[in-house]
């Protein structure tokens, strides 16, 4: 059904895709331009910074490819259609999260992964397959945290009946993940490690790739993923109890 929707709105989705590509290209050009004037940023070389940048885009694109459906929940609630979702014999949370996969983001993953591999080559990562394996493991952990953040967002929408504001805070905060966390002061790093875990989502996999991830940081990533995932499921249950149908 989602695929049919894409085919019938080619101009609409083509425009989205164009916007995504422009945003990505401009930011990459800006980073390259900045490195014409400086040799390092917070102690990282050009390709190391690009590894952080690409990892942020990779994780964000995975999130957008999978969870586009949550942007429809508020409208469903407003019109009373969410009553049908909760009363059907299906998992209403899974339906709300995965009802509209974004195929354009899947397409966008192709050039993105090409650039990731190019950066691997430039950094000489292929001589260290353990780092690549760790990178993939922590990308998976980041995806679990992403699932949790989207569950929090959809829970708050169901609870407050306001728009998916929380996910916009996360998406704006992802801008902070485009660069190495060392550019932030310690209190800011703490906030974006434990409260809105952008550093865990982006910097942990990137550091694993570069071979500079500390065991403490790796454990923190596992703990944050655990707490966020199970905490978000709890919040979803509570929000359903507070759901007051707009149509009744």
């Amino acid at each position: 059904m989602a695929a049919a929707s894409y085919m019938s709105n080619r101009i609409e989705y083509g425009s989205y895709f164009f916007g995504k590509v422009v945003r990505f290209a401009f930011l990459l050009v800006a980073i390259l331009a900045i490195f014409n004037h400086v040799k390092t940023m917070a102690g990282y070389s050009k390709y190391q910074v690009i590894a952080f940048f690409l990892t942020a885009f990779l994780v964000d694109t995975i999130g957008q490819a999978l969870f586009r459906g949550i942007y429809l929940v508020r409208e469903d609630i407003r019109k009373g259609n969410f009553d049908y979702v909760v009363s059907k014999p299906l998992n209403s949370l899974a339906y709300s999260l995965f009802r509209l996969p974004d195929f354009l983001d899947v397409i966008f993953l192709v050039p993105l992964l090409t650039l990731v591999i190019y950066t691997f080559v430039k950094l000489g990562i292929f001589s260290n397959p353990a780092n690549i394996l760790l990178y993939l493991v922590f990308i998976l952990i980041s995806t679990i945290i992403l699932v949790a953040l989207h569950i929090v967002s959809v829970s708050l929408t169901v609870w407050t009946m306001e728009s998916e504001s929380f996910i916009w805070i996360y998406r704006n905060a992802m801008f902070l993940g485009l660069f190495p966390p060392e550019i932030f002061s310690n209190p800011v790093q703490l906030i974006f490690t434990f409260a809105m875990p952008i550093i865990i989502i982006v910097a942990v996999p990137a550091k694993a790739l570069l071979g500079i991830l500390t065991p403490g940081m790796a454990l923190a990533a596992l703990a944050v993923a655990f707490v966020f995932f199970f905490g978000s499921l709890l919040l979803w249950k509570i929000s359903l109890k507070h759901y007051s149908s707009a149509s009744s």
Partner: protein
């Protein structure tokens, strides 16, 4: 005129109802601003100048640029028009003694007056925090051009949004087009970084488009990196864009209304 003032009042009340949305959108803006400040601070740890900008100049560029961009912003007009067209709500306006385009303009003023007051307060707080790194300017001619640019820029952005909204007469949705234009507006406007640090082609393209006159150009004028005369020329280009967009908006409205099927009647 009274009916249009009522539009402003109603919109102000509506905005007060959705306070959480206002707050979270502003938090998003704060992330944008803080990120730029942090990144540039990190860059200036290993150099004292980037493409002719020192640290104070780049901080001023960010703060003044965002302040101006807040003042010129309208909020979500594309989706409002899209909803009116796609759901047939436009028929309500067509049957009333009200000009729809004028209604949109006054609605925008109502929306902006609330949102801008919140955004303005947040920017003033930023200014207070970073005052040591902010360059204050008292050049009266520069301020005159700057204020006129903000006024023109507000309507340039509004007319662009309305134009994108009118695309709904021909397509099912316009969110993608809106996203693309906003992205171009931000990057070709110099919102994330001064355009002259990029390869020269970006600035050349930007100078013939309207976006550059909503952030990069006025910020450069404020910093004294372009002269008052160049500022006047830029203002002229912006006003020319304003006229083009106004006439384009009126023409597209006339063409679109012929296409309108009034869904739901």
């Amino acid at each position: 005129m009274k009916k249009y003032l009522a539009v402003i009042k109603t919109e102000w009340q509506r905005q007060m109802t959705y306070r959480i949305n206002q707050f979270t959108f502003r938090i998003g803006n704060v992330f944008d601003i803080l990120m730029q400040i942090i990144v540039w601070t990190a860059i200036f740890q290993s150099t004292s100048s980037v493409k002719g900008y020192n640290y104070r100049e780049i901080m001023t560029y960010i703060i003044i640029g965002w302040l101006l961009t807040f003042l010129m912003t309208n909020f979500g007009f594309e989706s409002i028009i899209s909803r009116h067209v796609q759901k047939g709500e436009l028929s309500n306006f067509l049957s009333k003694p009200i000009d729809y385009v004028n209604y949109l303009i006054f609605l925008s003023i109502g929306r902006s007056s609330f949102s801008l007051s919140v955004a303005f307060l947040m920017n003033m707080m930023l200014l207070l925090i970073f005052r040591k790194n902010f360059i204050f300017s008292a050049d009266i001619f520069m301020w005159f051009i700057l204020v006129t640019m903000v006024l023109a820029g507000y309507f340039v952005k509004l007319f662009l949004s309305i134009l994108v909204g009118f695309i709904s007469f021909w397509t099912v949705d316009n969110e993608g087009m809106f996203y693309s234009i906003k992205t171009l507006e931000r990057f070709l406007g110099g919102v994330y970084f001064p355009l002259n640090i990029l390869p020269a082609i970006f600035l050349k393209i930007s100078l013939v488009l309207p976006f550059v006159y909503t952030f990069y150009f006025p910020a450069q004028l404020y910093l004294g990196k372009i002269s008052v005369l160049q500022g006047l020329l830029g203002l002229g280009t912006e006003i020319a864009w304003l006229a083009v967009l106004y006439f384009a908006m009126r023409i597209v409205w006339k063409l679109g209304i012929r296409k309108f099927e009034s869904v739901g009647i």
